[in-house]
């Protein structure tokens, strides 16, 4: 470790401890939304600063510095997702085999059709829900039930709005795998919100 040197011009450049004060909260928020776990989010923020320190760049403006750090953080988050996607748990398998079998006609003439009483219901004034904090809480809880890698895919594709090819490249998965995961995610979210929010609004 190097001793503090007051004449060192580096103090005029990006001081890593100042980063923590200026950008720490923002990075933490970005990480928390995607990783859903405060501990993991803190770790990701720390790794980001460490990587930034090694990168050793300096910036003129705060906003350039911020977007540079956010870029590093997103890479860290993707590393985490890639690691997570190698581990498939039993609950994940349940999630994949289900596909709402109980809502479609199992056999006979109408096979694969919605069982009418259990098909998608009308969502009256859906747009107004967006103003309710409780709606968002329900949304969060529903998304929280998705297996981690499915939630990761949904976040990158729908929340961040990356295109399919980018998501596949980031997570190292095939496109057909991506489509299946997104289909399951949307189906599960729709059902969960219908049961826990829209169905209770009448």
């Amino acid at each position: 470790m190097q001793a503090e040197n007051p004449s060192n011009p580096a103090t005029a450049l990006s001081d890593p401890e100042r980063w923590v004060d200026e950008h720490g909260d923002y990075l933490f928020k970005v990480a928390l939304l995607r990783l859903r776990d405060p501990q993991k989010a803190e770790d990701a923020v720390q790794e980001t600063f460490l990587a930034a320190l090694k990168g050793g760049k300096s910036f003129q403006g705060r906003s350039a510095e911020k977007s540079w750090l956010v870029g590093i953080l997103k890479n860290k988050i993707c590393d985490h997702y890639r690691k997570a996607s190698r581990e498939t748990t039993f609950t994940d398998l349940d999630f994949y085999t289900d596909e709402e079998s109980d809502r479609f006609v199992a056999d006979g003439l109408g096979q694969g059709g919605w069982i009418h009483e259990r098909g998608p219901q009308e969502w009256p004034n859906a747009g107004e829900s967006l103003d309710h904090a409780l709606f968002w809480k329900t949304y969060r809880e529903c998304a929280g039930k998705l297996p981690e890698k499915v939630a990761a895919v949904f976040n990158l594709r729908e929340v961040d709005g990356l295109d399919s090819k980018e998501v596949c490249a980031l997570l190292a998965i095939s496109e057909s795998n991506l489509w299946v995961m997104l289909h399951r995610a949307r189906m599960a979210l729709r059902r969960c919100l219908e049961t826990n929010w829209f169905g209770k609004q009448a």
């Binding site: 470790m1 190097q2 890593p16 401890e17 923590v20 004060d21 720490g24 909260d25 933490f28 928020k29 928390l32 939304l33 405060p38 803190e42 923020v45 720390q46 600063f49 460490l50 320190l53 596909e99 479609f104 109408g110 096979q111 694969g112 059709g113 919605w114 009418h116 098909g119 998608p120 219901q121 009308e122 969502w123 859906a126 967006l130 904090a133 968002w136 809480k137 949304y139 969060r140 998304a143 594709r157 729908e158 929340v159 709005g161 399919s164 496109e175 991506l178 489509w179 997104l182 289909h183 949307r186 189906m187 979210l189 729709r190 919100l193 219908e194």
Partner: protein
């Protein structure tokens, strides 16, 4: 693929059931669908209000999440705790 096999697979794509139509409606958001699948979905949606609703709802949920990221993130602790802040600074200091 011989003629009969092709006819059979095109026929299946042109007459999807609801289970298949829900999948196609999701995939349509992520990639351009093959032509027969697209036509089949269109025909299905003309006749099936359940699937029309389904499509509207999944698009609504996706757009809502994209447009309201702050609400989705919620009011939960969105700042680093004092301890975390200290720990990270300490760690950075060691690394310097």
């Amino acid at each position: 693929m011989n003629f009969w096999q092709k006819l059979k697979s095109d026929g299946a794509a042109l007459l999807p059931n609801c289970r298949e139509a829900t999948r196609a409606q999701s995939e349509r958001l992520d990639r351009p669908l093959p032509r027969t699948t697209r036509i089949g979905l269109w025909l299905h949606l003309l006749l099936c209000r359940w699937c029309r609703r389904y499509g509207t709802q999944i698009r609504f949920l996706g757009r809502a999440a994209h447009d309201h990221q702050d609400e989705l993130a919620g009011a939960a602790p969105t700042t680093l705790s004092v301890e975390a802040r200290q720990r990270i600074k300490q760690r950075l200091h060691e690394e310097k």
